[in-house]
Symmetry: C2
Subunit: 118 residues, 2 copies
DNA sequence: CGGTATCCGGCCAGATACTG
DNA sequence: CAGTATCTGGCCGGATACCG
C-alpha cells in the first residue's frame, strides 16, 4: 500500500476539471476515512488515532490541516490543560457528505467483486 | 501541485474502510478526469492526450491499466495498421458514473469559494 | 493531549528515447 | 497510433525525538 497523495493546488495544467478539483480535496491518503468519521459528529485528535491505528501522528496532522485549509473541516482549540482540540465538518464540509456516503455504499457493494479469484 | 497517487492495494492496515476502497480506485491522479470523459462514450488513447494535454504518455498508460485491472475500464485492441485501441466503461465502471457526476457538480459549485481572498 | 522538528528511504511521476 | 524502457529527481510518508 502506497498511498501517496495528490493535491495539486494551482493546477498548472489541470485543465480545470471539476472532478479533479473535488478529488484533490477529498482524495488524500486518509481524507476519505477522516471525513467519513466526522459525519457522525465531532472528533478529537486521538479519537482519529484509535479509529485509524495505522495513521501516524504526522500524517494525521497534515491531512487535517489540509482539510482545514480547504474549508472542509473546522479545528477548535480549547485553551486548557490538558489540551483539547475538536474537529468537525464545516458547512462546506457537510455538502460533501452525500458524496462520501455514496462512495461508502459503492465500496461496500463492490469490494467483494475483487475477492474473486483472477 | 503535487499529484502523487495513492493506490494501496493490499491495504495492510487499511481498516477496511469502504470509503478508502472507493477512493483507492477512483482517486488516482488522473482517474477522475479519465472516467469523466468516458461517460459520454468510448475514447482512444490519443483522444485522452488531447483532452488532458498535460498528462504524459507513461502516466496515461499506467492510469488506464490500473482502471482496467480494477475492472472499471475495458481496453479493446483492434488488430490493424495503424493500431487502434478503444477504452470504455465496463458495467462495473458505469456504476461509478453517479459518483463521478456528483463530484463534478460539487467541484463546479464550490470551486469559486476558493477564489475568495484569504 | 496534541502536536512540532528533523532525518531519510522509497516510490511516484516527468523526460526522453525507442518500437511493433 | 499506441505504446514500452530507462534514468532520475523530488515529494511522500514513516520513524523518532522533543515540546507547551
Amino acid at each position: 500500500m502506497n498511498i501517496r497523495k495528490p493535491r495539486f493546488r494551482g493546477d498548472p495544467a489541470g485543465e480545470g476539471c471539476p472532478v479533479e478539483y473535488t478529488l484533490d480535496i477529498i482524495g488524500g491518503k486518509w481524507k476519505g476515512v477522516l471525513l467519513y468519521h466526522l459525519i457522525d459528529g465531532t472528533k478529537r485528535f486521538n479519537e482519529f488515532r484509535k479509529i485509524c491505528p495505522s495513521i501516524t501522528q504526522r500524517m494525521l496532522t497534515l491531512q487535517l490541516r489540509e482539510l482545514e485549509e480547504d474549508g472542509i473541516v473546522c479545528r477548535e482549540v480549547f485553551q486548557q490543560v490538558p489540551p483539547k482540540v475538536e474537529y468537525s465538518l464545516t458547512d462546506l464540509g457537510r455538502t460533501l457528505v452525500p458524496i462520501i456516503l455514496h462512495m461508502k455504499q459503492w465500496g461496500e457493494s463492490f469490494r467483494k467483486c475483487e475477492q474473486l479469484p483472477k
